[in-house]
């Protein structure tokens, strides 16, 4: 199994799940700043030019964060990355989808790449502000979900890996503060040995 990742990108969440599982895997850095994701060597693997990309043992390729996370959890039941109860497992997927498709792709994408949203530079500050608003509304939803809980579904699950990377961007890249329950969750995540190893490998610690 081989993970293509970019240090500090959303692939960080999948990287830490692989560390939680603790089985051997290969990891290869894709330099997004140099456009490695658009080069033919990589588009032959993932035509969508995105990380995370997982090449499985049989050579088949899996893309999309929630699909990769679900697959890793389901194939490694001993790692307990998904609640056993189907209704709770659905909640874990729901939180994962919300962190990835809304907080990241609607919130941060506006803050990091406003030019992808508005053609005029004069609008970019407004786009960033809207991204911030979407992200902060997401944080409020997550903060409420964490009320009285250590992890989003009670025990650690794939949902926590997704919340972790969108919090990492907010704290480490933007220097912002998290609401109380999410801040406690972030600290709890950083204290997990698998997370600490991932951060060190990606040069983020």
């Amino acid at each position: 199994m081989k993970l293509f990742y970019a240090p500090g990108a959303c692939s960080l969440g999948i990287h830490l799940l692989l560390e939680e599982i603790g089985r051997p895997y290969e990891a290869e850095v894709l330099n997004l700043r140099e456009g490695a994701q658009f080069k033919p060597e990589f588009t032959a693997i993932n035509m969508k030019s995105k990380v995370p990309t997982l090449v499985r043992g049989d050579g088949s390729v899996l893309t999309e964060y929630p699909a990769i996370a679900y697959y890793l959890a389901a194939t490694n039941p001993e790692a307990k990355l998904l609640p056993a109860d189907p209704a709770m497992a659905a909640k874990a997927l729901e939180f994962t989808d919300f962190a990835v498709a809304t907080m990241h792709m609607q919130g941060f994408s506006r803050m990091f790449r406003p030019a992808n949203f508005a053609p005029s530079e004069a609008d970019h500050e407004a786009v960033k502000a809207r991204g911030r608003e979407i992200y902060e509304k997401g944080l409020a939803v997550m903060d409420k979900a964490l009320d009285g809980r250590d992890y989003l579904c009670g025990d650690f699950s794939i949902a926590d890996s997704a919340l972790f990377y969108v919090c990492f961007w907010w704290v480490a890249r933007m220097g912002q503060a998290l609401p109380a329950n999410v801040a406690a969750h972030y600290a709890r995540m950083l204290a997990r040995p698998a997370v600490a190893r991932t951060m060190a490998t990606e040069g983020l610690a």
Binding site: M47, K48, L62, T63, E64, Y65, P66, A67, Y70, Y71, A74, T75, P86, A87, A90, K91, L93, E94, D97, F98, V100, A101, T102, M105, Q106, F117, A118, P119, S120, A122, D123, A126, V127, R130, K137, V141
Partner: protein, 204 residues
């Protein structure tokens, strides 16, 4: 089970799934156009103000298209809307994520709501054009990498097809002619009684 939807929105795909399952459900209509999803009775059920939203029989609320589709398919194995094996299920999820996380919000939202992207009205035609270009690129990628035959995935008809259906339904609205493979899929979907029932419910 209560299903909160807006006519013609992406919730149409979940509507199709519920009709495929064929068990009774209570549909509740909220129009995203007149801000219905921001009204207190909706926010009380889903603070994210999004359709589709599903209120399950035990009162718990499920949101996010991919999650609702995946849960409905797994909770109703007799409807055969998802393969039994993990690998087939993972491929369904991957496809749902691409359709609901990229094709819809990146390609189509730019065309439907350019003001959410560019504040200056003069820029909005460019946002719409960019969205159309992105949507066409995504659909071309999907058609060129089609692994199924009549349906999207080699494992057969699944909830991924109902997600592609709401995208196909939108193509004519924004003047996109989908690649032939996708137009054929759209026709195959329109021939399904469950799809016809969902469309009729939403038009009524």
């Amino acid at each position: 089970m209560k299903f909160l939807y807006s006519p013609g929105a992406c919730s149409l795909g979940i509507h199709v799934i519920l009709e495929e399952i064929g068990k009774p459900f209570e549909g509740q209509r909220f129009s995203t156009r007149d801000g219905g999803t921001y009204k207190p009775d909706f926010v009380a059920m889903n603070p994210k103000s999004k359709v589709p939203t599903l209120v399950r029989d035990d009162g718990s609320v499920l949101t996010e298209f991919q999650t609702i589709a995946f849960w409905l398919a797994r909770a109703h194995p007799e409807a055969k809307l998802i393969p039994d094996d993990l690998d087939g299920q993972t491929r369904v999820l991957e496809m749902l994520d691409y359709i609901c996380g990229t094709i819809h919000p990146q390609g189509f939202t730019r065309q439907f709501r350019p003001a959410n992207f560019a504040r200056d009205e003069a820029d909005q035609p460019r946002v719409v054009a960019q969205g159309k270009e992105m949507a066409e690129k995504y659909l071309a990628l999907l058609a060129a990498n089609w692994t199924g035959s009549e349906w999207l995935l080699p494992s057969g008809y699944s909830v991924a097809d109902s997600a592609l259906f709401f995208i196909e339904h939108w193509c004519s609205r924004v003047g996109i002619t989908p690649p032939a493979r996708i137009a054929e899929h759209h026709n195959a979907m329109l021939a399904r009684p469950a799809v016809q029932r969902a469309l009729a419910n939403e038009a009524a």
